[in-house]
Point group: C2
Chain length 511, copies 2
């Protein structure tokens, strides 16, 4: 009866009404930190907000809603798989970044812990591929529901020679420049994005942009231009579209975008940071091009834009200029860490007619929420999925900025070692948030830390010893969730046993 | 009779006496500027001398002779071919850097001038290879005269799939990591110098260092260790050796050498410049390793070391941190330019028992002088050569630091366009030095400049208008030399005619 009813409603729509399904654009940035913008996401305007120039993000913030407590995972692929499937990383088990090469664990060797048996080949749209998370991808559902689906930019969903590596296997009708690679070997058209005309390509060469080889077109610009060209088809056919415009920027290498870099160099800014700022502005310029295009085509009013980054800003030095772990201040640490600097993201959403312009929300949301939210925006109610999504739609929040849910529980699970050097909880750490409270679990030290984010956004005052009851309460909730998902826990090399669950640590008073 | 005489002398030497032929090490650095060292090459100790730490260059300077007026060509391959053959770039016609790819002209398109038909495939040890300079290479002559010849590091003598690309075709018995490439895609062992274990290599991947893949060994260290290992054979066999240790450092990419970079970052130095300084120190560390090895093996007393760079320090920004064309001050400009910053090099030579320790010479010498000098050091008097060398041996200078020749004429010929942007005489420029006078010819402006280097090392005061007689005198000498070598001159797009010779410009008073 229900199916028949839906069909009848569908059949009664004219083509014009069908076209009024909102277009949806996910504008995803790589490695962009919470402060890498002139849009202030904190209560204060920071030096970083003054340094970076992102006029189009400002424009988007004015048109829509600013999320001051939006989260992703501490590294890249886990966030992308969560967005694609609605599933938390502890649950989908792609807990770390995937190598372009198949069957290659990117975990660095650790002296204390064995790596977990995570899904090192990433996401897969087909069953039976070893070490992948098999699920129904968001663009697949959208495509089946009449959306024209376009991928442009960085995919990094799965390793080479697995089905997840090609976005076209996951429901994208069009794929521009997306593959198994996690960063470009070069952003420069003059360098053919590192594809030589004759000779061997770098494994991180960007594919599919041959028309721009030898030109002065910066990669961020090329994927934007091609994405907008691809949009001509659904616009002409009056079909709703889903554009996933995922920038390679602002990931290293920090190639200088000549359109913007001189301005930053002239301020006397550290040269690495000047290149980074130019990379940020080039990305923002793309956002402006997209918004201008929507206006020109007179479809801006019916298009939702969701702006997001996939993890915190890189803060290793000398990859970045200046002192390590200072690039996301007031947030602690950066990419790789479960401290706020590694997971809190600049997030903006515009939806003309639905979101009140210039609204701001402090409600926390997380990357897996994009999946149910986008399905709800698209009016898709009971999609056939092979997975059970963990994310919650934030559509009610878009409609009502004062909506609040302090009982929501968020989990970040990262039982992996990212890089050779040590850093603030950048390895083998997990975290849990409920309300303003955040619990952090360091597996190597078997130590819990407790922070009140409302009072201490910089996570400087560990309240665990002062508030053991709160630690225990959160540790139990955290552990229950991890166990429910059968989350993978690393094994101690000395004992051959898994590290304790957070509630075991809490009950032992080890904090 | 002469041949017979030589044979008799040779036959009368015992193996021990033969071994007393001096060992010769050419320690060549890539893109190192005149001021990129703690050894002061100017009359004053500069801020750069204070910034860089090169204790082993200091050690070498104390042991041997410092050349304050040593020159190379403004870009890389021309210098290397001159060193290998003793021939000036105007004469060998490899006037610009060669592409790793065969038959590819690296000249950037210019609005005013057609590129010349230069030898775009570089040097060739065999005749008949199109667009190469065919000659007898220095290591070939040394090998034929009993030297054990080793190449380690960057070759960049000729393009891929030509005989010049492999140093073993040019008389080197051993080749470590040398090929057609002009810079490494990566200096990092952890990145396998950009050779993936499975997958496509970057065209600028460094070959032949598989043993170091995945390790923490920086490229400068790997080529040094392998070079020293290779030296065990001639030392054991008591054969004289010729080691050409040509560093990829300090060419971009400025990968951070973790052994040294933190020290520079902590001083608050621009992060790009900190990486550059670490690359310099890593190169210097290699020099120290070589000197220590010679002492351990008790062969230091019989080993000549010639330290040189192949062109001026790179001074483009943002490739380098800070303001463009300031990195070689007090010298003007940098790599690519015929101003002093592009051609004056840090040069040191030690020869125990021959060179007075700590000596300094202001006599000007040029890269093609290495060829006859090294042959003279090796006691090779009448080598069979297919080319006519232009260089002059500076052995008499090594023996007598007060030797002076103010009548020597030097020529830099660069009828090429290096990069897209403009810069101080970095394109289509040639220069001539005699005594303290230097004449510069800008082909695009058809303009001559005159400087007195003794009074004006920074080439700030163009004396051409004040001293037209000197301009004319030098222009005639310059033109005669260019014509003698049948030097290639670019053709104007507007008229279809070659640019005027310097003496034509001088007689027209166009300065």
């Amino acid at each position: 009866m229900l199916v028949l009813g839906s069909a009848l409603i569908f059949l009664s729509l004219t083509p014009r009404q069908q076209a009024q399904k909102p277009n949806i654009i996910v504008f995803l940035v790589d490695d962009m930190g919470w402060q890498d913008t002139s849009v202030p996401f904190w209560t204060k305007t920071t030096e970083f907000n003054k340094r970076y120039h992102t006029p189009n993000m400002e424009r988007l913030a004015k048109a829509g809603m600013k999320f001051t407590n939006a989260y992703a995972m501490p590294v890249c692929t886990p966030s992308r798989v969560s967005l694609l499937t609605g599933v938390n990383a502890a649950h989908h088990r792609v807990t770390h970044w995937t190598s372009p090469d198949k069957n290659k664990n990117t975990d660095f060797a650790d002296s204390d812990l064995h790596p977990v048996d995570w899904n090192i080949n990433g996401f897969s749209p087909t069953a039976g591929v070893p070490h992948t998370f098999y699920a129904t991808a968001l663009p697949e559902v959208l495509k089946e529901n009449g959306y024209y689906t376009i991928h442009s930019g960085k995919a990094h969903f799965g390793s080479k020679d697995t089905p997840g590596s090609d976005p076209k296997n996951s429901g994208f009708l069009i794929n521009i420049a997306g593959s198994e690679i996690g960063h470009p070997a070069s952003y420069l058209g003059k360098k053919n994005y590192d594809n030589p005309k004759n000779g061997r390509s770098d494994r991180n060469a960007v594919s599919g942009l041959e028309a721009y080889h030898g030109s002065d077109v910066f990669l961020s610009d090329a994927i934007t231009t091609e994405a907008l060209k691809a949009l001509e088809t659904p616009i002409k056919d009056k079909k709703p579209f889903f554009l996933y415009l995922a920038h390679y920027a602002v990931h290293v290498p920090l190639n200088a975008d000549k359109r913007f870099v001189d301005k930053y160099l002239k301020t006397g800014l550290d040269s690495t940071e000047a290149k980074y700022a130019a990379l940020v502005e080039g990305m923002d310029n793309s956002l402006g091009d997209v918004m201008d295009f929507l206006s020109e085509k007179k479809i801006a009013e019916n298009t939702v834009i969701l702006f997001m980054s996939d993890n915190g800003g890189l803060s290793r030095s000398p990859a970045r200029g200046g002192k390590a772990w200072t690039h996301n201040l007031p947030l602690k640490a950066g990419k790789g860490s479960v401290y706020e600097g590694g997971i809190r993201e600049p997030m903006l959403v515009s939806w003309p007619g639905i979101i009140k312009p210039g609204s701001v929300t402090d409600q926390y949301v997380i990357i897996e929420d994009f999946f149910p939210t986008i399905l709800e925006i698209a009016g898709i109610k009971s999609p056939k999925l092979t997975q059970q999504p963990d994310g919650k739609s934030f559509v009610q929040l878009l409609k009502n900025p004062s909506f609040s849910d302090k009982n929501r529980e968020l989990v970040w699970h990262h039982p992996n070692r990212w890089v050779p050097e040590e850093g603030p909880n950048i390895h083998y750490s997990s975290a849990f948030r409920k309300g303003d409270w955040k619990l952090i679990y360091d597996y190597k030290k078997a130590k819990l830390e407790l922070y009140n984010l409302k009072e201490d956004i910089s996570e400087e005052k560990d309240l665990a010893l002062a508030n053991p009851q709160k630690v225990k309460e959160l540790a139990v909730l955290f552990t229950n969730q991890l166990k429910k998902w059968d989350a993978q826990m690393p094994v101690l090399k000395t004992t051959g046993k898994r590290v304790p669950w957070p509630d075991e640590v809490a009950s032992n008073g080890l904090f």
